[in-house]
Symmetry: C2
Subunit: 308 residues, 2 copies
């Protein structure tokens, strides 16, 4: 009677005394994940090979406790873990890191833009007051100097030396760079999602889609969430307030920013959110289970129904 036994080191042939009489070690961690090859080869060499019965397993395991195997076990386990960690990186992570960084860039841009406004308003308060859009203001003050924008006599700002103004412009240029980076991140997000979750991208857009993935902790988990949960992702605070104090339940989470819901009349926003969340849920499932591209139809359907 000969037995076949496989562990992380390789495949082994044991005689009826459970002594190793033949073996075929794995050369890499990948082979252990598909041990059939090695087992087939051994079966050819030893025609009457049966799998090790369960009652003999503990004895065999004990014999592998021999210190001669320690180093090999350590190395193989390490390699296997490394491979597992390496392979755990999926598009989920790119999307989630990118959208998290876009949020942080937004915060940063806001903080630094306000500083530019405060600082520059000692020099040309009229321009700062006149333009409420941060990005346009940065562009304006970086590309033109004050005399091109205002008459000297018109401004209440002080006549600062060039060295002082330059210091403000350095910061304004930096803020412009942050705006550019944000734009690049959005393009990148679009590209990654186009491949990874085209349905979700089509129905929800890059920003909302990515935020949903972030809040849902990855596409897999998002795909497994019920549509009613997706509808409320991002409104957790209001939801728990509803549960604890009986306040009104929230009708929508971050999908409120979706153009279809923005366009809906106030009374039907809740209904629109429910319908959109339904379709988003379907799309996340299509993407996770590698289904076909149906989001365009869904979107048209929603537009037709909500347009009425």
């Amino acid at each position: 009677m000969k037995y076949l036994f496989t562990n992380i080191l390789g495949s082994f042939v044991l005689d009826d005394q459970l002594e190793v009489i033949d073996n075929l070690p794995f050369s890499s961690a990948q082979e252990y994940l598909h041990p059939q090859n090695n087992e087939q080869k051994l079966k050819k060499r030893h025609p009457q090979l049966t799998p090790l019965p369960f009652d003999k397993l503990s004895k065999v395991l004990l014999s592998f406790k021999d210190p001669q195997y320690y180093d090999a076990f350590y190395a193989k386990n390490m390699a296997l873990t490394k491979t597992a960690i390496q392979q755990s990186v999926s598009e989920d992570i790119f999307v989630m890191q990118t959208i998290a960084n876009i949020n942080e860039l937004d915060k940063t841009i806001n903080l630094l833009s306000k500083r530019v406004r405060e600082w520059y308003s000692w020099y040309a308060p009229e321009i700062v007051e006149h333009l409420s859009d941060h990005e346009k203001l940065m562009e304006l003050i970086c590309s033109k100097n004050r005399t091109e924008l205002l008459k000297e006599s018109e401004t209440m700002g002080a006549n600062l030396d060039k060295s002082h103004v330059d210091e403000i412009l350095l910061l304004a240029k930096q803020v412009q760079e942050l705006f550019k980076l944000r734009e690049l991140h959005e393009k990148y997000l679009q590209k990654v999602m186009q491949k990874y979750c085209p349905n979700l991208l089509e129905i929800a857009g890059a920003t909302i889609g990515a935020k949903l993935m972030e809040l849902g902790k990855g596409l897999k988990h998002l795909a497994l969430l019920p549509a009613s949960t997706i509808q409320l992702l991002g409104a957790e605070k209001a939801l728990f307030r509803h549960i604890k104090t009986g306040a009104r339940s929230p009708k929508y989470g971050i999908i409120i920013n979706h153009p279809l819901i923005q366009k809906a009349a106030k009374a039907s926003k809740g209904k629109a959110a429910r319908m959109l969340a339904d379709k988003i849920s379907l799309c996340a499932r299509l993407d996770y289970f590698k289904g076909e591209f149906k989001a365009k139809e869904y979107r048209k359907e929603l537009e037709r129904k909500l347009g009425k």
Copy 2:
């Protein structure tokens, strides 16, 4: 009897019926701030001119309520206010804006550096783990690619496509730019303070000196503060806790970061802080009242006394 009366429009000569019989308008807001010139000229033309007595003032003021003066009053007041605002900008503002922005840049750099660490550690966790200094890490990952830093087989990071790695590097480069901007701000601060408050700069250094000015709301106010308050600037929270709950009183505010106090033995830190605050207070006064440059002597004195 002829009276002399001056308001923002100009100087007027009134007869005993309080009718205007001569006048000399101001041509600019600056002239109003020094009305002596106009008044002297009128006194030459009308030898027996006396200042308007107080009991006749209200009648004269009433006559100036005539709508013919409205436009002139509005324009002159506007010009005067503009001038006052323009001239209110002093070096205080440059120093305070710059130090506030350095603080904000620090926050931003920290936030974005952490994001780079988290993101890049999917690619090369060993490098991120190995280098705890944000600035050096950014430099390293921007200047070299992973194969130059690690053997492929050694890393637990995933093999990402170039497009994914590039996105992280864009952010890392941005963080580097922010580090550079912070450095430029510090140099600028040094330059402005060298001119405006050389004593404070010498005794406290650029960062601490500027923070003291920010906390003290300008050099003037800082110069008027007692040394004991300067010692505790930045420790307001602990001070009020001390007053309200009887907890221990704080011994130092932000001057704790000064090298002289850092170097002092723990038991004598309080004493060192008191002595340093004394000298800082003196220096702020020297700077505000345009005194001589004495900070170097003070610093040597402190070093000698605290060195023992």
